[in-house]
Assembly symmetry: C2
Homo-oligomer: 360 residues x 2
Amino acid sequence: MWYETKLTKLLKIKRPIIQAGMAGGPTTPELIATVSNCGGLGTLGAGYMGPEEIKGAIQRIKQLTDQPYAVNLFIPETTTIEESKIIKMTDTLKGFYEKLGIEQLSLQDEWGPNFEKQIEVIIEESVPVFSFTFGILETEWINRLRANGTIVIGTATTVEEALQLEKMNVDAIVAQGSEAGGHRGTFSGAAEDAMIGTMALVPQMVDAVHIPVIAAGGIMDGRGLIASISLGASAVQMGTAFLPTLESGANPLYKKAIIQATEAATTVTTKFSGKAARGLKNEFIDRLKDVPVSEVPIYPVQNALTQPLRKEAAKQEKSEWMSMWAGQGLRLTEGIGAKQIIDRIMEEANATLLRLTKKG
Amino acid sequence: MWYETKLTKLLKIKRPIIQAGMAGGPTTPELIATVSNCGGLGTLGAGYMGPEEIKGAIQRIKQLTDQPYAVNLFIPETTTIEESKIIKMTDTLKGFYEKLGIEQLSLQDEWGPNFEKQIEVIIEESVPVFSFTFGILETEWINRLRANGTIVIGTATTVEEALQLEKMNVDAIVAQGSEAGGHRGTFSGAAEDAMIGTMALVPQMVDAVHIPVIAAGGIMDGRGLIASISLGASAVQMGTAFLPTLESGANPLYKKAIIQATEAATTVTTKFSGKAARGLKNEFIDRLKDVPVSEVPIYPVQNALTQPLRKEAAKQEKSEWMSMWAGQGLRLTEGIGAKQIIDRIMEEANATLLRLTKKG
């Protein structure tokens, strides 16, 4: 059948639907387990989590499902921390913090979780599938993961990046189209030069590599699933569709904003985290729009500098200052259960195929 | 069959493939007639053409085919010509003109062809299909065209624009995704806020309007055709795939550049024409990248100011100064005949469907 591909066999899943590893809260063990129990692949977005937190989440997932699941991490860049940029940005953000009545972060030794400690947990816990974003995973890690029975999935925003990942011996590649919500996975060149729409990106990547390609970006329902498989993808990865589900851990204000928004409500900004990401336009992005990209501290520094602000804004129900990552398929979102979403996708996919093959 | 839709019946075409009305030379009567003779819909990109030139092209098309064809025009905006911007831009462009050894344009009374005279030709010649870009066509014109038996197609880059077009009583709407080459059809709001990928745009537009939607942007082959029909489109519009064909009137350097380019080779710029358009990155775009968008004279003024420069650059084989519109599906282009392209698309579409419906 069309939904049984080399990739679904490798991943041992029944339905070619991967729930994206959205970092920062949405991917609760309940969401992941529901998706995996429905025959899809749930993913823990663990990019911002410390090793103990990751371990706890994995153990909870294991209690909730005996099906395969994935964990997603961000590959750190080797970068120099520029103190002058940090001081300037701290000043830029001062007004937000004062209004919220909380303290700003001072200079840190560690700006984000330690990647090696994070990935050690993936190995210790024998996670079935590991996906990564933002770069190339060193061969040593890939070898250790594979020796441990873990399937490894990379993320590419151009064909060139996909070719680099294939050389590193990953098992499959997510083709992240420009429609996708959240962080752009671009690791080779500038993110603004790698905004290729899913319709164009997927077939070009499929032609260029010999391993399975997973379509991502703007895919919301059974029509998008059949469209992606038509383009040559072996599965789809969907984030925005799962964001407002009942099982998602996204803030209620964020869920509501997603459900109400339309296709043109998003923009790509580096101002929240230091890396380009697509999210709902709001006052925070607007107020920082004149800060040149070159003055924004690198990831994960900017992410750390805005994190207490975003967290407190959520507490004070100020969605205009929250980061609300979202893709472009926003009119197609609904606040229902994840199982209902997956069942509907499969039904609609089969109905789409029937429509395409109707005689007469 | 899947390729027979309400729209193909209305247009009286056998294959749901529309060749886009690329203005500025590529759409020769030979290309249009070849596409229409193969069962698709060829389109004359007449935006820059004067009424006599349009009439001549239509008469030539009629000699070459008895099948339906379309003519595409640009809807003019009511705009104020700002002389100070023109003087400043003339100065900015001076170096290019000096190097080419030709005179710059001085201030004009008419910066582009007269729209009313253009559209009168469409009515006089009883053109089967009229498509338009950049806005809303006044009801009076729509009524005259329809009374004359002409099918009217508008272009939208957001759902909101599609709803406006539907209210104007057009017969169908092109959903122009962000992957598309050439001018962005955006007429409601800023072009940069309406860069929605085809995968996300098509299903949202299909759900919102009651008339047929034509998918455009990044569609290059039979896989893209089936993907688009899956998303709910009634047909596809393809430009870049037809640009380097043998019948296309595009400059040989331009064709060669298209065939050699990859998916990340394009950018969206307003610097050639005053309106946002996607084309191959080159030196001209790069040298003008620091000119703020607000300082670029409006369309069609900027188009007129750069036109002699682009024309002479083509003569002197300086593709770095030519405008080479292109979409993001560039790895999938080939310099073959238009009939061969259409035959292949249909074969590959049927093969894709077979792959999707294979049992076992």
